[in-house]
């Protein structure tokens, strides 16, 4: 289990991360969200021992992360880097061996992963000859080939097309099922919600949200309503507690001040009988993220 306790990092008088506490159990996925500069990468860098915390602790099974333990961490940096003039095999094997894997096992695993991730090309191809998508897959293979116990992914879906995003998610799920602890950052809220068991939202270094995505959404109540019904917008607007009505597709998206207002709308909309859609849900993670980010926000998303 990874325990991060009261982690703080100051750069001179600027606080990059302020009192972050989180735990990550085996087989659990933690999504770290926040605007650029919120402290996500700083958190990763402290876990990886690239920089030292100003205060707080990071432990793995109640002990500081040792050099040996560090070889069990797979890290995918935000800005991807590969040796352009080397072959796929040369560099993946080098990275795998640095993580303590034998050359023989790495070779076997590389072939398996290339097949599973549908990489076009041979192991003897130089990276500079690969397409962007295939190079990204090789980067992922380099990160996961040794089946890491702890996986840190900094913006893993950045720049990926939908097919590669799905493949990446599939691999993350597979590692999760095997018991790996996974910590990742992303701006793709749909992806975060889909993958994460828990999320932590940082804003200017401070933790503003933490918990299971369903619980977090539930905290905000079922204040989002999508309605497809033969009723005038003007009639809806007269109902107290409606904050906004926005046309969306064949219907309207209604933002409520209180979930109970939904009952009034339902009665009005179904007064004449059948309606195609009445969906009352908590706000999406994306909406919550936007709302939290814009509260006292001094920068843009």
């Amino acid at each position: 289990m990874i325990d991060i306790s009261h982690l703080t990092k100051r750069f001179n008088d600027k606080i990059a991360l302020d009192d972050l506490t989180m735990t990550l159990a085996p087989g659990e996925v933690m999504g770290l969200i926040g605007q650029n500069g919120a402290g996500k990468t700083t958190t990763f860098r402290m876990i990886l021992n690239f920089i030292q915390p100003s205060s707080g602790t990071i432990s793995w099974d109640q002990a500081p992360i040792s050099t040996t333990r560090r070889t069990q961490i797979g890290f995918l940096p935000e800005e991807r880097g590969l040796y352009q003039k080397q072959t796929i095999e040369q560099q993946v094997l080098y990275f795998a061996q640095l993580h303590g894997m034998s050359k023989y096992d790495a070779k076997r695993k590389l072939t398996e992963l290339m097949k599973r991730l549908a990489v076009v090309g041979k192991v003897t191809d130089k990276v500079q000859t690969l397409s962007k998508g295939n190079a990204q897959k090789i980067q992922l293979i380099s990160t996961i080939i040794f089946e890491p116990n702890f996986l840190i992914l900094d913006e893993p879906f950045s720049g990926l097309d939908p097919v590669n995003t799905a493949l990446m998610m599939q691999e993350i799920k597979r590692l999760q099922d095997q018991g790996s602890m996974i910590l990742f950052s992303s701006h793709d809220m749909a992806g975060v919600e889909q993958l994460s068991d828990q999320i932590t939202m940082l804003k200017a270094g401070r933790t503003v949200l933490q918990g299971r995505p369903t619980d977090i959404r539930a905290q905000f109540g079922r204040t989002e309503l999508y309605l497809e019904a033969p009723i005038e917008t003007a009639s809806l607007a007269k109902i107290p507690g409606i904050l906004s009505i926005v046309p969306r597709g064949a219907g309207r998206q209604i933002h409520l001040a209180d979930a109970k207002v939904g009952e009034t709308i339902f009665k009005l909309a179904t007064a004449k009988g059948y309606i195609p859609v009445f969906a009352q849900e908590p706000p999406t993670l994306d909406a919550i993220f936007r709302e939290k980010a814009s509260t006292n926000n001094q920068g843009g998303l």
Binding site: F50, Y94, L98
Partner: protein, 409 residues
């Protein structure tokens, strides 16, 4: 785990560069250049042999016989007693020149298209011939002539610090130093660039983050130095092997014989000291370069970063050729004790007996201590900078870095 990872980084750095065309171009370029120059000389000699000029000696059969016997002139010597026919031959360019004598004076007549006729040698031989003729006229015996012309001999002895005679190996030692100064500068220029590019490439492409996630900065720092150090060692070994092959294959080559004679008097202690000094200095420069390269943000800054390092090496290189005759030069004396400059200055001063062996070993000890300290504090700087991307120019970053040298993270 440290040693296993260290070996992996050394192996990876070494093998990747070993497979590159750039490395082999550099290693083989001097050898190929020597071969190319030798080929050009060979072709020119072939051409010259086909066109060895002819010189006719008119009405002097004894002189003609003497010149032929000496075999020192690069000329065909012909004898003739017909001046008119000889002049005609010169006009028709059948001969390159003719030589006549008149009342003890020689007259050399060359054709319009005749180039150098080895005039200097000819003048010396005529001088000798005239001397012999005059000696004969004075009825001197061959023994008396030999005695007259016998060169004086000078026995040179060099005394060591205890006042005892020792072998005169000053010129051999200084020659080695001069050769090494060139070799060291050549090696440093290339390997400083290589290590800087290696680190800057991994840093700018963010591969360093992946490497440091799995290993420690010490593994990467010393692994890179080890890998590049092995390449330099292989490079030097290849030249030693090629040199040995050349000595075995061309034992009668004039240049090789001269080189062998030049270095046969080398003092073994001097050789060991100099090689140790070179080795330590190469590592010093590599460590310094690794520290500097960790500060660059991208490959475009590599040249800017390594220029001060190569300039340091250039100072020592240039001053080494000025040591002779500068026994009391204060600047050279001080620099010969300073690491990064002592590598050829101290061996040069030692070779010329301007420095004592004790002073030489002291300069080596200073270099070793500097290397240890530089490696220790250098690792700190490397760790601090290798994942830091500074804005602004490199000089400011370097200044800030060195100010924080003794601070812990």
């Amino acid at each position: 785990m440290f040693w296993k990872q260290l070996w992996l980084v050394i192996h990876h750095t070494f093998t990747q560069r070993l497979k590159s065309v750039g490395y082999w171009s550099l290693v083989l370029m001097p050898a190929l250049s020597v071969l190319a120059v030798a080929a050009v000389f060979f072709i020119l000699n072939m051409g010259n042999q086909q066109k060895t000029p002819t010189m006719t000696i008119v009405n002097q059969p004894a002189l003609s016989h003497y010149l032929k016997e000496q075999k020192q002139l690069d000329l065909h010597i012909k004898s003739s007693d017909d001046l008119t026919a000889t002049k005609k031959s010169l006009h028709q360019e059948k001969i390159a020149a003719y030589l006549t004598t008149n009342k003890g004076r020689y007259q050399l007549i060359k054709g319009a298209k005749t180039e150098d006729l080895d005039d200097q040698h000819l003048r010396t031989l005529l001088q000798d011939y005239t001397f012999l003729q005059r000696a004969t006229a004075l009825h001197l015996s061959p023994q008396q002539v030999t005695h007259l012309t016998e060169p004086v001999t000078i026995d040179t002895q060099v005394l060591n610090n205890q006042g005892q005679a020792k072998k005169d190996n000053q010129s051999a030692n200084y020659a080695l130093t001069s050769v090494l100064a060139i070799v060291i500068f050549f090696f440093l220029t290339y390997y400083v660039g290589l290590i800087a590019n290696e680190i800057a490439n991994e840093k700018s492409s963010r591969i360093m983050e992946i490497l440091l996630a799995a290993s420690s900065p010490a593994v990467q720092f010393f692994g890179k130095l080890g890998g590049i150090g092995l390449l330099a060692l292989l490079h030097a070994s290849i030249y030693l092997i090629l040199g040995s092959i050349a000595f075995m294959c061309f034992p009668n080559n004039e240049f090789l014989i001269r080189a062998k004679n030049q270095f046969s008097n080398l003092d073994p202690t001097f050789l060991i000291f100099t090689l140790l000094m070179v080795l330590i200095t190469i590592f010093l420069y590599m460590v310094l370069t690794a520290i500097v390269a960790a500060m660059v943000n991208d490959l475009s800054q590599v040249q800017q970063a390594v220029t001060p390092v190569t300039t340091l090496a250039l100072v020592s290189y240039a001053l080494t050729f000025m040591v002779n005759g500068q026994a009391h030069n204060g600047l050279i004396t001080v620099l010969s004790f300073l690491p990064f400059e002592s590598q050829s200055l101290m061996p040069a001063r030692l070779a010329l007996n301007y420095a004592s062996p004790l002073q030489a070993w002291l300069s080596l000890a200073i270099a070793v201590i500097t290397l240890v300290l530089l490696a220790y504090y250098g690792l700190r700087l490397y760790t601090r900078n290798v994942l830091t991307y500074q804005e602004g120019n490199l000089s400011k970053a370097a200044f800030a870095t060195f100010l924080n040298l003794f601070k812990k993270n």
